[in-house]
């Protein structure tokens, strides 16, 4: 078992955003986390990454208790993430952004720069390496976040809606990139709400609804599950009614 | 008797703190920007009152609204010309922009009006009421009452009116508000205008019993920070309660522990509060 979360609870005031959710992740898996907006998947994701501290439950990573560990310590252990809205370091070039990630395991400047160039080539950003990061558009920024996370040489990579807001052509390249990352031996958790992407990408899917795990299984099984259909369609239908 | 007098003095003083802090907390709550020039806005309003009286010979009935209008204009101008452009910029630019404004206003006033202390004649609103030994000055009472009315009015504006809910919508999510047809820029300019206008009212009323000088805003800026922090950033009723509390704390500690300790007490309280509860004492997490 690489990563295991048990009975995670996170409340905001009287509202339980995550209500006793569980997750297990094996080495070399690529799993999806889906659910309608407000289902608690992002909050759950933040609990895994360390940006939010759960009010109950426990998280173990590579046989270590990390429930209350700071994000930077999780990163050192090999848990990297990206953000739904990319946070790039203004005032730095693309390469320098990636070097920040690379410095985690390579304290020396030249080694970090070499690692950054390697990752930039891998993610297809080599041409923009010397540009100020402010020149990148949204797809570029999302890609840069992935590159930065990869430069920290993680075991597990958590992608938060890395494909949201992209055109269909951009989605294709992004899917290809995620696949290549997986093939290079990195375990991935992908949060998405586009069912189709999850379908094509993942081996296993966990469906969230109202802070709980509603269903779990292969993409085909899950999409056939009537409860999942209701959760998605029912909500969508409800939204159209005034 | 002394305690009662101290308490009442503290409350009246605190009402004044609340009065000039409510504008700051409004601007803050609306757009998460601190106006480091806040005390200097108060100073500008005080000069408006002073010159309206000395040059035009008008009393508070005229110069209080006049100060409000002037400061409304100043607030909108500052938003349109400065804050709008730096709001989404680097943090350094956001912070130093209003700080630069503070220096600019303060020393421009020094340049134009000289460092001389001036004050409105004591007789303008000069009565003193004696309630069985408890003495209250009319000008303080006027400022205190206005503080109550103004904070209540601002609170109602934000919570009970359409305009208020539009402003709040912009503050919560600019893009979403724009999607439902609220143009964010005019709303935020309006928030600056209203915040500054209430500061204008405060300044003009304070001028009734306080001296006016270019450096006078300095003490107000820090006090407004403390008040806003204690009351919860962005909360108008919170600012009122906090202002009253600080007034009483200052008044009583100055009497029993000596005047030097009163600033120490308030600043130290502020720093500790920030450390322990950065969202403010009455603010939500």
């Amino acid at each position: 078992m690489l990563l295991e979360a048990k009975g995670i609870i996170k409340t905001f005031g009287s509202f339980r955003a995550v209500d006793e959710a569980d997750l297990t992740l094996q080495e070399h898996e690529l799993i999806g986390l889906i659910g309608p907006n407000g289902a608690g998947k992002s909050t759950f994701f933040n609990c895994l990454a360390g940006d939010a501290l759960p009010d109950g439950g426990s998280i173990r990573f590579r046989d270590r208790e990390i429930t209350r560990m700071a994000p930077h310590d999780r990163a050192r252990l090999g848990l990297a993430r990206t953000f739904q809205v990319p946070i790039v370091f203004d005032g730095m070039t693309v390469r320098e952004n990636v070097m920040v990630g690379a410095f985690l395991r390579r304290p020396h400047r030249h080694a970090a720069a070499a690692k950054a160039d390697e990752v930039l080539a891998f993610t297809g950003l080599a041409e923009q390496a010397d540009q100020p990061v402010t020149t990148l558009g949204t797809p570029g920024r999302k890609r840069l976040e992935i590159a930065r996370a990869l430069a920290s040489e993680p075991t597990v990579l958590l992608l938060d809606e890395a494909l949201a807001g992209l055109t269909s052509a951009e989605v294709e390249t992004a899917i290809a990139l995620v696949r290549r990352i997986h093939e290079s031996g990195i375990t991935l958790i992908v949060v998405e709400h586009i069912m189709e992407v999850i379908h094509r990408l993942t081996q296993r899917v966990i469906v969230f609804q109202q802070g709980r795990v509603l269903a779990e299984g292969s993409p085909a099984d899950v999409t056939a599950d009537p409860r999942v259909i209701e959760a998605y369609l029912g909500r969508r239908a409800g939204r159209h009614r005034p | 008797m002394i305690l009662l007098q101290l308490g009442v003095d503290g409350l009246l003083l605190g009402a004044v703190y609340a009065l000039f802090s409510s504008g700051l907390t409004l601007i803050w709550g609306m757009m998460n920007v601190v106006n480091f020039a806040h005390g200097d806005f108060v100073m500008v309003a005080m000069y408006v009152a002073f010159f309206a009286f000395t040059l035009l010979g008008v009393g508070p009935i005229v110069f209080v609204p006049l100060a409000a209008i002037t400061l409304f204009g100043l607030g909108v101008l500052v938003y349109v010309a400065l804050v709008r452009h730096v709001m989404r910029g680097p943090m350094l630019a956001q912070i130093i922009s209003t700080f630069g404004l503070a220096l600019f206003l303060r020393y421009a006033a020094l340049w134009l009006f000289s460092a001389n202390f001036v004050s409105l004649p004591d007789t303008l609103v000069g009565g003193v009421y004696d309630l069985g030994g408890l003495r209250l000055s009319a000008s303080h009472l006027l400022a205190g009452a206005t503080a109550l009315v103004l904070t209540l009015g601002m609170h109602l504006l934000l919570t009970r009116t359409d305009l208020g809910s539009r402003m709040l919508a912009v503050s919560e999510d600019r893009t979403a508000a724009a999607l439902v047809g609220i143009r964010p820029d005019p709303m935020q300019a309006l928030a600056w205008g209203i915040g500054a206008a209430s500061t204008g009212v405060a300044g003009a009323l304070i001028a009734l019993f306080f001296y006016v000088s270019p450096e006078v805003g300095n003490s107000f800026t820090l006090l407004a920070f403390v008040t806003v922090c204690l009351g919860g950033f962005g909360s108008v009723p919170g600012a009122l309660l906090a202002g009253l509390a600080i007034g009483v704390i200052q008044s009583i500690s100055a009497y029993f522990l000596g005047p030097a300790t009163k600033d120490v007490a308030v600043y130290a309280l502020f720093v500790l509060l920030l450390w322990v509860r950065p969202q403010g004492l009455l603010g939500r997490a």
Binding site: A49, D51, A70, H72, A75, R76, R81, F83, I87, V88, F89, G91, M92, T93, E96, M99, V100, G101, F103, R109, H110, A113, A129, D130, R148, A149, S152 | N32, V34, F36, L82, H85, V86, P90, M91, L92, A93, Q94, I96, S97, F99, G100, L101, L103, F104, R106, Y107, L110, W111, L222, V226, A260, D263, V264, Y267, F270, V271, L274, W275, P278
Partner: protein
């Protein structure tokens, strides 16, 4: 030929450093010394305020600590004022840990507000602290007892001393900027959450930066007290002391190697000469101009002059590898 501008720059810099020795005019020599001194504190501020993005308006506290340390050492222990400088540096370390560390929880505006309040608090406390001369302040030696008192009629010895300190600070900054610490500081300055997710221990790096920044600011305070021979709460802890550091850094370019130095080279002589030329016909005009400069920078060029002249950042060639 590619290196031509660089060679030119180095030559110009050397000329600049040497110029005060050549003029023979005591007033210009003093301006040079004051410029170097201002550049030390602005460059020190730049470590945490520029690179680290933590906009402190409370660095006057460090400056005051250094200045008081040297004159307290003189008045209480009878040693030359400069001997108090190490004590000031030690005190600055303590301050960074005790006051700085808890303040690092605060972000953006909140941090700046806390620093303003801390500086105001320090000023009030020192004003009421009889041991340190209270509001009256402390005096240095009236006339030199030995060379160690560092009392000179000419400003040149001070200038040389200040330039040496400045050079070591800029040397440190240069190395830091190229290495992991520089990257981490710039990263946490522009996106704390992202930096943290990449394994940057935020509070620890902020503390590192503050320790160095505070120590050098304290040293600048000590040097000031040695040269001026007097300190009082206003000139040690006053808000304008901090303002000068912020303005110079922001003008030249916060978070760049030479930005604060360039800011100091522009502003100090400007202020001194306008003061000399106008002889005070300009009530407060200097700070009106300061305020306007700050607003213009914030509005049009948040990167300061360095935004227009990348060489200032000290990187020379583009790219980092």
């Amino acid at each position: 030929m590619k290196n031509f501008p660089r060679v030119l720059l180095i030559a110009a810099a050397a000329a600049l450093v040497a110029a005060p020795f050549l003029t023979g005019n005591p007033f210009y020599q003093r301006i040079a010394a004051l410029t170097a001194l201002a550049a030390i504190s602005a460059s020190a501020w730049n470590l945490i305020g520029g690179y680290g993005g933590q906009v402190s308006f409370g660095h006057s506290v460090y400056f005051g600590i250094g200045a008081y340390a040297s004159l307290l050492a003189y008045t209480k222990l009878g040693v030359p004022p400069i001997a108090g400088a190490p004590l000031g540096v030690l005190a600055s370390f303590a301050l960074s840990v005790i006051v700085g560390l808890p303040s690092f929880r605060l972000r953006g505006h909140y941090f700046s507000m806390a620093t303003i309040a801390i500086a105001a608090l320090a000023e009030v406390l020192v004003t009421n602290w009889g041991f340190a001369g209270g509001a009256i302040g402390l005096m240095g030696p009236a006339s030199p007892r030995s060379l160690a008192d560092l009392l000179f009629r000419s400003a040149l010895p001070y200038y040389a001393l200040f330039v040496a300190v400045l050079a070591s600070l800029l040397g440190f900054t240069y190395l830091m900027q190229r290495g992991r610490m520089g990257f981490y500081l710039r990263a946490l300055g522009s996106g704390e959450r992202a930096a943290e997710s990449l394994g940057v221990p935020i509070r620890r790096y902020k503390l590192y930066a503050l320790l160095v920044s505070g120590a050098f600011t304290s040293l600048a305070g000590s040097l000031y007290a040695v040269m001026v021979g007097f300190i009082d709460p206003g000139s040690g802890f006053g808000i304008l002391v901090s303002v000068n550091m912020v303005v110079m850094s922001a003008l030249g370019g916060a978070g760049t190697l030479f930005g604060p130095l360039v800011g100091a080279i522009i502003l100090v002589p400007l202020e001194e000469t306008t003061n000399a030329l106008l002889g005070g016909g300009s009530s407060g005009a200097a700070y009106v101009v300061y305020g306007a400069i700050i607003m213009l920078i914030a509005r049009f060029s948040p990167g300061g002059l360095a935004q227009w002249w990348p060489l200032l950042s000290g990187k020379g060639r583009r790219g980092a590898a």
